[in-house]
């Protein structure tokens, strides 16, 4: 009997990423950054990972993902004000509302792919953004939904207060660990492999018996749920929810993070991209007023010469080294 083909449940890369993030609060202030920045990075890393499920894994170029992130943020706040000021209830509301939004969008666009998919997601993103701005009664309009509390995390009898940035950071880290682990499993599950197959060849997938529409819809909804979760956490970090995360630009930023990091070739690429994006904003932003100019230029260069992103650069370097060591390299289509 042939051996089963399994992927490790826990990888070294996973442990390294988690450990690095876990150590951040210990040194972030020593390098002149601040805890709140760490919280934002972690949340966006999670968001980018969730987004990459759609872009990198399913090959669906969504340009309106900010909608789901934003819906999650608003849902978190609204649940807090109108349902119950309980962290778990609010996070569930964020996930649930994003799922509904995702399902609604999926209903309209799951038969599409490529540029048309991108165009339709832009249109949907704009609709959600527009509603967020105009529905004052619900969202507070352009001023945003204010006074969202950082609710305490209750676990049985223990209660963790998340008011400080460091406490919130660790809470977000726990969620991040759970989400990244879950995504790792999804990507390597039968479902995940079918989605990957659909990305490569939709027609063939159909002819081996898969209902492509359902898989495309499902992956969008899952991605929307996790984006909404990140959005809920973001509203907690900001103590408010604002419409601009739903704008075309912010939706574009998450695409940039994912690509710059190398989401097309690497599972952890989006995380690298989110870190690079935020550090660039804070560090280049402190030196020159036009940091976006430099970030935009490097993005253009990357798209032109190395669309596989930072992770892609690393992989080809590693491959070159491996080639030097051993002439035959077994190609591997598993996500790394």
């Amino acid at each position: 009997m042939a051996p089963a083909r399994t992927i490790p449940t826990i990888t070294w890369a996973m442990i390294v990423v988690w450990l690095i993030f876990a150590s951040v609060p210990l040194w972030i202030e020593k390098v002149g950054l601040y805890h709140y920045l760490g919280v934002e990075i972690l949340i966006f890393a999670m968001y980018a990972l969730a987004y990459n499920l759609v872009l990198g894994h399913a090959g669906l170029p969504s340009f309106g993902h900010g909608a789901f992130f934003g819906v999650g943020a608003y849902a978190f706040g609204l649940a807090q004000f109108n349902i119950a000021a309980n962290l778990w209830v609010c996070l569930a509301a964020a996930v649930g509302a994003a799922a509904v939004a995702g399902a609604l969008v999926a209903l309209f666009i799951s038969h599409r792919r490529g540029i048309y998919y991108a165009l339709m997601t832009i249109a949907f993103g704009q609709i959600f953004w527009f509603i967020a701005i105009k529905a004052h009664g619900l969202t507070g309009g352009e001023d945003g939904l204010l006074k969202i509390e950082r609710l305490p995390a209750t676990l049985g009898v223990t209660v963790f207060d998340l008011k400080s940035n460091v406490a919130l950071y660790y809470f977000v880290l726990v969620v991040f660990v759970a989400v990244s682990f879950l995504l790792w499993r999804i990507v390597h599950s039968p479902f995940g492999r079918v989605v990957k197959a659909i990305k490569q060849n939709e027609t063939r997938a159909r002819f081996v018996g898969y209902d492509v529409w359902r898989f495309k819809a499902a992956i969008l909804v899952i991605s929307a749920c996790l984006s909404g979760l990140a959005g809920g956490l973001f509203s907690m970090a900001q103590a408010s929810a604002f419409p601009d995360v739903m704008s075309l630009h912010y939706s574009g930023y998450v695409v940039m993070m994912t690509l710059v990091g190398g989401g097309l070739v690497s599972f952890w690429g989006p995380v690298i991209g989110a870190v690079a994006f935020f550090l660039a904003r804070d560090i280049i932003g402190a030196v020159t007023t036009g940091w976006m100019l430099w970030f935009g230029l490097s993005f253009v260069v990357l798209v032109l010469f190395k669309p596989e992103g930072i992770a892609g650069i690393y992989q080809s370097l590693a491959q070159r080294r491996a080639k030097a060591a051993a002439p035959v390299v077994a190609p591997n289509s598993q996500a790394r």
Binding site: P61, L119, A123, Q126, I127, M256, L293, G296, V300, V303
Partner: protein, 309 residues
């Protein structure tokens, strides 16, 4: 009946707006039609057109002071006319550079073209901020075409109607080029099958350059025309590119009449809905889009395109 009379001005206003939308969408459509590339930098080229026009009209040019004084003494109407003609020409080289960059993405997933132009749009917007700063500018309009006139007991902006007229002229020129010249025939052939173009011995590379330049100049021209209406600011490109792509999807990729009628339709819907709920009027164009593409997947006049795969 009074309600219909009340609506008429909004409809007229919508038609004028629609013609201007069509104008913005047209250059976008040319590039999308032939190259099957979404040019997200279209809006930035549009903005550059407006800024160059501002530099010319307001006599803010990098020239020696005495030359500048001579130029500033030229009557505004001539400066404005010069801007209408020169701004698109000045922006054209940016289109050339962009096309050079785009070449690397031909034959790859169209997503890369989209991302590349997203990045370029960002860079151009930042460059504008570096050169002109963040404040808003208004493009001075010559006396002859500014002000208002009375119609239906309301005052109307003369410039708005003049601009709509210019949009019609520009669209007519594009129509003649696409439908009545050999160049247009090649463009259309290329839009349907680039293999045929090559088989006919047409240099596709050159054709693409020319289409890109034409599309760029259209964008810049639209920028000049829209500048007095929308004001000039670094971000104006996004305001233009979003309706443009929407109109193209609505009208159908690769169709001249799709872009023209799509623009008009969007303008009228925005105009009419603003009569009832002005603050929601911009949402109406997205709802229109959803409605159309739900029932007609390729838009009103679209043909099957490789973009769908």
């Amino acid at each position: 009946m009074t309600s219909i009379v009340n609506l008429l001005p909004h409809l007229l206003n919508g038609i004028a707006l629609g013609l201007l939308f069509s104008l913005i969408a047209l250059g976008f459509m040319l590039i999308l039609g032939l190259m099957e590339q979404i040019n997200l930098a279209h809006g930035s080229l549009f903005a550059l057109g407006a800024y160059f026009a501002y530099a010319l009209c307001a006599a803010r040019l990098p020239l020696p002071p005495d030359w500048l004084a001579v130029w500033a003494a030229v009557p505004l109407i001539w400066r404005f006319a010069a801007a209408v003609v020169l701004a698109p020409i000045l922006v054209a080289p940016f289109g050339l550079i962009l096309e050079r960059l785009m070449r690397r993405t031909y034959g790859r997933d169209p997503l890369y073209g989209l991302l590349l132009t997203f990045g370029v749009a960002m860079v151009i917007e930042e460059l504008i901020r570096v050169v002109w700063g963040t404040p808003d500018y208004m493009l001075p309009v010559p006396q002859e075409i500014s002000g208002g006139f009375i119609m239906l007991d309301l005052i109307w902006s003369t410039y708005r109607f003049w601009a709509a007229g210019m949009a019609i002229v520009a669209m007519a020129v594009v129509w003649v080029i696409v439908e009545r010249t050999r160049f247009g025939a090649m463009v259309k052939a290329g839009a349907h099958d680039s293999e045929i173009v090559q088989a006919l011995g047409i240099d596709l590379t050159k054709l693409r350059v020319w289409v890109f330049v034409l599309g760029t100049m259209m964008a810049a021209f639209a920028g000049v025309i829209m500048a007095p209406l929308w004001g000039i600011r670094p971000h104006m490109g996004v305001d233009a590119v979003v309706p443009a792509f929407l109109i193209i999807v609505l009208g159908g990729v690769g169709s001249f009449w799709g872009a023209a009628i799509g623009g008009l339709l969007v303008g009228m819907v925005v105009g009419l809905s603003s009569a009832y709920a002005s603050e929601w009027s911009m949402l109406s164009m997205y709802l229109l889009l959803l409605l159309v593409v739900t029932f007609r997947a390729r838009g009103l006049f679209g043909k099957k395109s490789v973009l769908e795969v």
